[in-house]
């Protein structure tokens, strides 16, 4: 079927212009009196024939005496979706005609599918058709030509994230011709106070009289769910038994956010996305702007004594990447409790923790290092490497809260954090391959032995002497940290395979350094010296 649409933009004041786009749609912007009188005349004739029907008349609020008439396009009594001319008139003349008019429609307007059939097919997908919005038969202009379609606006199940879908079903065979979300979302930027009482911006969604933690500015679907201490619902979600929707997002009435766990989970997920994009050109965890969902408050601090040790260690004393872009941040401990002599704050309150968890997502979508033994230690180490990189990218170097350093989780687990890349031995972790952990605990030491690769990364940047081997490394210097960050990122995401070991990591980072900066480059030399120093050949 041949068809073409004519897009009119006629105004006395406009200059003449004409352009064509690939669909064959002609766009006209004619400013001469002839074009205007042409379309004024044509509109009058189409109106008389019933192909244009007056839909709405509005007096101009700014220019007294002007009237705007909206003429909807019909084809044999069926509305043409999107076809409309808008005519501006004074008491004596037509002053402009704008709009879109579709020409060359040739269709049988008798539907094979009934309205009830269309409604049933939408209901079969679990969508709800509001009672006052019955299917409407329309002519749908598409690139491939015109189609007779049933138009329905139906709502999704709130459990799956509420949405209003605009759906066009082919009136002959029920195929979906076009579908889109018809909810008018609006981006908003607010401010929030983090776990450590610092201020930051919140990129959120405005709607329903409040603000919701759904970042509208960054490319991926980046949302933060407030589980409100409901561990059952958290587990149901992780088990795939319920979906989280808009009503699970954290809410704030005035866009000045004060729940630090929410603020930091949401903002730091964005910071990490930004770091990945700006440093490595990577678009999120899967490089395709896949979703990033953060869950906070999976439990309440006050409920801690009602839970088993395993719940406490997972949902109070830890944060984890579940998979599929889902992060869960533990609640920390009530302020009067400590574990191992340390206090535990909300886990999302540390940028390196957030980046570490998201780093597992990047690994999942790339090398998929198996979370066991040496490959597992490399998986852990890559997350620590990203964590440190993100900290130094966004925070000032230094010690203390909100400073970039070589400790992990030091802003959440105080004092001291949980690991050191500079001095692994301070936490009892090996800083040399010869003293690696070989026991069965910790998935054969994934968190313990990660320190060997972590320390190599540290030495390649900062330089220094390894405690065990006594070998010295000349680092590239912290001003050039981006070189080593790229070397490791590229090696761990692009070159390693799921069961790679430390030796493979050494080879891959050297390869990566040569690829990026050339053989015998400063970066390659620093990386070689670093692996030598930690005893990995």
């Amino acid at each position: 079927m041949k068809w073409y649409g004519t897009v009119l933009a006629l105004a006395l004041a406009a200059g003449g212009a004409q352009a064509a786009d690939p669909t064959g749609t002609r766009r006209v912007a004619a400013g001469d009196g002839a074009a205007l009188s042409d379309w004024d005349f044509r509109a009058g004739r189409l109106e008389a024939a019933g192909d244009l029907r007056l839909r709405l008349v509005r007096e101009d609020e700014l220019l007294p005496g002007r009237v705007h008439e909206r003429l909807a396009q019909f084809y044999r009594g069926i509305p043409v979706w999107g076809g409309e001319l808008v005519r501006q008139r004074s008491a004596t003349a037509t002053l402009s005609v704008f709009g879109t008019f579709y020409e060359g429609i040739e269709l049988d307007v008798t539907p094979t599918l009934t309205a009830a059939d269309a409604a049933r097919s939408v209901a079969a997908r679990g969508l709800t058709l509001p009672l006052d919005k019955q299917p409407e038969l329309v002519v749908l202009p598409r690139e491939a030509g015109y189609a007779l379609a049933w138009r329905l606006r139906a709502n999704t199940d709130p459990d799956a994230g509420f949405d209003a879908r605009m759906i066009f079903l082919d009136a002959r065979d029920g195929a979906v011709l076009l579908e889109y979300s018809d909810l008018k979302h609006q981006s908003a930027v607010g401010t929030g106070t983090g776990v450590l009482a610092d201020s930051k911006k919140m990129s959120v969604l405005s709607g329903g009289g409040g603000f919701l933690t759904d970042d509208q500015l960054r490319p991926p679907r980046l949302r933060t769910f407030d589980m409100k201490g409901n561990l059952t619902r958290t587990l149901q979600f992780l088990n795939g038994q319920v979906a989280l929707g808009q009503s699970d997002l954290a809410v704030d009435p005035d866009n000045v956010w004060s729940d630090g766990a929410v603020v930091d989970a949401h903002a730091y997920a964005g910071y990490t996305y930004d770091y990945l994009y700006k440093r490595f050109g990577r678009r999120g965890l899967d490089d395709q702007n896949g979703r990033i969902l953060s869950l906070v408050h999976p439990v309440n601090r006050a409920d801690i004594f009602g839970y088993s040790d395993s719940v406490v260690s997972t949902f109070y004393l830890n944060a984890f990447y579940y998979g599929d872009g889902i992060m869960v941040y533990g609640e920390g401990l009530p302020s009067n409790l400590t574990a191992g002599g340390q206090r535990f704050n909300y886990w999302s309150g540390a940028l390196d923790v957030v980046s570490h968890e998201l780093g597992h997502g990047v690994t999942d979508f790339t090398s998929a290092l198996i979370y066991y033994g040496e490959s597992g230690a490399l998986n852990e180490s890559f997350s620590d490497i990203l964590a440190a990189g993100t900290e130094f990218f966004h925070q000032e170097a230094g010690s203390g809260p909100l400073k970039a350093d070589w400790l992990l989780a030091e802003d959440t687990v105080t004092p001291g954090g949980i690991r050191s890349m500079q001095n692994p031995a301070a936490f009892g972790d090996p800083d040399h391959y010869s003293i690696r952990f070989t026991g069965a605990e910790d998935n054969n030491g994934v968190h313990i032995n990660s320190s060997i690769s972590n320390h190599a990364f540290y030495l390649a940047i900062e330089g220094g002497r390894n405690r065990v081997s006594g070998l010295s490394v000349t680092g590239v210097g912290s001003a050039n940290r981006d070189l080593i960050e790229r070397v490791f990122f590229r090696a761990y995401t692009a070159l390693l395979a799921p069961s790679s070991d430390f030796s493979a990591a050494r080879a891959a980072t050297l390869q990566s350094a040569r690829d990026l900066y050339g053989a015998n480059s400063n970066a390659e030399r620093a990386v070689r010296e670093a692996w030598n120093a930690v005893g990995v050949q």
Binding site: V189, K201, S203, N255, D274
Partner: protein, 242 residues
């Protein structure tokens, strides 16, 4: 020409048609030129992305042409009163620097700067003066001083519109948009005129008038533009005596 000008002309005509008055009158119409540039700067702040942004604009309006009409009534003592209406036009340009808050990070403004020309400024004024003059058979010299009521209409810069895309670290500013804004203020004026009488009723004259007032124009956002109106306008034109 302003409505004030038209009514003044009417007043002149009425006075001229009334020879029975005790004193004598004088009316004039002059073309003027005001060579004084007027320059001004403004700092505006605005809230965007939950943070304060700033816009600094510098305006420069060149001197420009104008006109003046007036009527004077003088007693035999040489003292008199006069009422005049003047207008002047100027062309101008503006340059700006703006800091737009970053949507994702605090304290990371995106800078933008630019300039635009083709701004116009029109000032109209009514001057009400005390006059002292000496009238000879051919020459006449007049000094005057008094209050002026200024009305200024000028193009000022609107906050520049821009586009940006993730990661939003820079902005692309679209063509600056100007807004026409007006403001009024009472100021002062003083000057001198010299006439050469061609006949009993007509003559030619030159004049100079110094006038001034600082007029405030309200910008969008939280800002005002303060413009110095007036200057030293010189002119020449026709004189009518009655």
């Amino acid at each position: 020409m302003s409505r004030i000008g038209t009514s003044l002309l009417t007043a002149v005509a009425l006075l001229a048609a009334t020879p029975a008055l005790a004193g004598e009158g004088r009316a004039w119409a002059s073309g003027t030129f005001n060579p004084a540039k007027t320059e001004t700067a403004e700092n505006r702040t605005f809230t965007e992305f939950a943070e304060q942004g700033t816009l600094e604009v510098e305006y420069a309006f060149d001197g420009g042409p104008g006109g003046e009409i007036g009527v004077e009534y003088r007693l035999r003592s040489g003292l008199g009163l006069q009422l005049a209406a003047s207008f002047g036009t100027r062309d101008g340009a503006a340059s700006y620097t703006a800091a737009f808050p970053h949507p994702l990070y605090l304290n990371r403004d995106r800078a933008a700067s630019g300039e635009t020309s083709g701004l116009s400024l029109t000032e109209t004024a009514i001057h009400f003066d005390l006059v002292y003059g000496k009238r000879g058979p051919k020459w006449e010299i007049v000094g005057f001083a008094g209050a002026s009521f200024f009305n200024v209409e000028a193009d000022i810069l609107d906050r520049p519109q821009y586009t940006h895309a993730y990661p939003y670290d820079t902005v692309s500013v679209l063509a600056p948009v100007t807004l026409s804004r007006s403001g009024s203020k009472v100021g002062f004026n003083a000057g001198l005129a010299v006439d050469y009488r061609l006949s009993k009723s007509f003559g030619l004259g030159v004049q100079g008038r110094f006038s001034g007032a600082t007029v405030e124009l309200e910008a969008t956002d939280e800002g005002t533009v303060e413009l110095d109106a007036g200057g030293f306008a010189v002119g020449a034109g026709l004189r009518l005596y009655f």
